[in-house]
Every structure is written in C-alpha cells, then in structure tokens.
Subunit: 188 residues, 2 copies
DNA sequence: GTCTATAAGATGATAGAC
DNA sequence: GTCTATCATCTTATAGAC
C-alpha cells in the first residue's frame, strides 16, 4: 500500500469517526508516519483530499451495491444485505457512514465535496427504490407507500440510527431498526 | 435580552447550522457585538458554553413535548405535532436538530455534553413510546412492532432525514417521511 | 517523495485596565 | 461587564534542501 492510499484510508477513517473538521494534517501525519508537509505532495489542499475520499467512498459503496445485486437470489435477501452494510460499519468498525458525517458538516465543505455527498444519497435512494419496485412487482414486498418514498424512509432511518446509536453507546439500536424495516415490507 | 442570553442563542443557532467544531468565539463575538475576551466572563470555556446550550435545548424541547401532550386531543394529532417540531426547524429556520449535530461530533465533546445528548435522545424515545402505547391502547394506532421499537425508528428517521434533506437541498423530504410515518401507524 | 523550516492566520484562553 | 493586549498552540500551506 503506497503512501497516497494510506493517506486516503486514514482520512476516510478519521472523517467517519471525528468528522471533516475533526481531523488535521497533523493527525494524518501521525497515523501514516510521515511529516505534515509531505501530505501536500499527494493532496495539495485538505479540500482536495476530502473530495477524493468522498469520491472513493462513493465508488466503493456502489461496488458493494452491485455485488449485492448479483450475489443475492431475491429482493428480501438483497434488502437484508443492504442493511448489513450499515450494521457492519457500525458494529465491527465502530464508525458511521462517511456521507452522513459530511452532511452534518455541510456548511464547511467545498462545492465539489457537497456534490459527492448529494450524489451518494441520490444513488442509494435510486438503488433502494429499484429494489422495492422489483420486490413489489414480484409479490415479495408489500409497501406502505411508493418505492421511492419507502427508499427515502429507509435511508434516513439507517443514517440517523448510526449517529444516535453511536452517541447513546447502544449499537443494538441499528438491529432494532433493521428488524422494523424488514418486517414492514414483508408480504402479509 | 441580556448578553448571556444572546450568547446562548447565537451559539445554539451556530451549532445547529455549522456544528460545535464549526463555530468559534470570534464568530460568536461578531454576531453578538462584543469582543472575544468578553465571552469568557459569561462562559469560562467553550465546553461550558456548549454544555449550557445543550441543557437549555433539552429543556425547551421537553417543554414543547409537554405542550403537545396537554394541547392535542388525540394520539394521531400529537404525533403530527411532534413531527411538526422537526419540520418547522428545518423548513422555517433552515436548521437541524442541535443534538444530531452534536451526535456527529461526539468524539470532540466533553462527557457532560455527551450526557445531555444521550438524555435528549432517551427522553424523546420514552415520550414517543408512551404516545405509541396510548394510541395503541385506545385503538387509534396499529403498530408494526412494540411502542419502544417504533419510537426508535421514528426518531432515527426524522433525525437522519433532517441531515440528508439539508445536504441534498431538498426540504420536501421531511414531508415525505412524515407522511410515511403517519400512514404506517394509522389504524387499517 | 520526504524532509526541515517557516509562514500567516485562527483558536481558546488569560491578565489587567477601565 | 467589557475592553485591549497578549499568549501558546494549532491550523493549512509554501519554499527549498536532500
């Protein structure tokens, strides 16, 4: 793993834990084991670094979604796997979604980073809406509203739950919400 | 309004917009119209100020909940009024809940502030759970899960939606989610 | 690519005059 | 209660040697 990749990984990790305003080039230098000034060789400004972290995060997440699409046999299992992405981040890594951290610091971000965050949420909603539509079409799901509206609710609930779970020191709460979501779409 | 109250109001407003790490004593001094150093006369440290803001916010919110309890005639109207608290903050004031901002910056906060945030979420959940229990008992609501689990979902969805709505510049999304929640508890 | 040295500004906080 | 002046420290960023 080269220095550039280490910097991206460390920045991503720190934003997910402490936020964009919560880490500095000094923190980054400590973690990666180089000097502050050397970071500028790889990323000329903090905004550049943040932008690349956001781009990479979005790409990785979309790859995970494609993997779920091709790897699971039905819509219910796909929804379970989607929720598992969030639970894994929180329960195993004790981190929250990068983009909900960036959303909270929205005012401090450059336009380019803001656009990445916006695109991340949009793509998640589109993916979820498509999943709900398919599940409904195939008679697997019974929805309380349109696929698009259900997608908005599910994304909001998962993102909000990560932050609340972390601040209440109660990681089981994401599990509660997962169960709620799954049973709410289950064919009755 | 005395200086102390102005400082509390400005700090609260700025945290809701930019986060705890996103505002400084200089910003505060500019808004209130005194010098940086004078702030320390009222709040010796930023952590003290943050703590008092969180305490006051929680008290004000709980007062609003008591007002809903005594002012609305049935459980459905109480739930509508609760959701309206969040919508008003976002749509009229273009701010998000103070405590979800503080939750995102959890690692940067003193223990006292963390405890206030935790208590805020807990009290909201207890209040909502009680509301769902009553609505269910009186045959007004049909719940998909226990009152407590439903409370967790509703709080998470509203808090998450505020952040996502703001970052996507789409304030209507809170309305979508409100409709979803209301129709999900409606007696069928 | 990484380093040392350094800049220019912001940060929270203190001392002491008025 | 508010001010000026000052502090130590942290922030992102640059210049130039190796």
């Amino acid at each position: 793993m080269d220095t550039r990749s280490k910097l991206l990984a460390s920045a991503r990790d720190q934003i997910q834990r402490k936020g964009y305003n919560g880490f500095s080039y000094a923190d980054l230098a400590d973690e990666v084991g180089i000097r502050k000034a050397s970071i500028h060789h790889h990323f000329s400004t903090k905004a550049d670094l943040g932008r690349e972290v956001a781009i990479q995060y979005r790409q990785d997440f979309m790859a995970a979604l494609r993997s779920i699409e091709s790897g699971k046999s039905n819509s219910f299992k796909k929804l379970e796997a989607y929720i598992q992405l969030f639970r894994h981040t929180l329960e195993k890594d004790h981190k929250v979604c990068l983009c909900i951290m960036l959303a909270a610091e929205h005012e401090a971000l450059s336009d380019k980073i803001k656009n990445e965050v916006k695109a991340f949420f949009k793509e998640n909603e589109v993916w979820l809406a498509q999943l709900f539509f398919e599940g409904q079409s195939e008679g697997e799901f019974t929805l309380m509203s349109t696929p698009a509206e259900t997608a908005k609710l599910v994304l909001s609930a998962l993102e909000g739950a990560m932050l609340i779970a972390e601040s209440m020191d109660d990681l089981t709460r994401l599990e509660s919400i997962s169960q709620w979501i799954l049973s709410s779409v289950k064919k009755t």
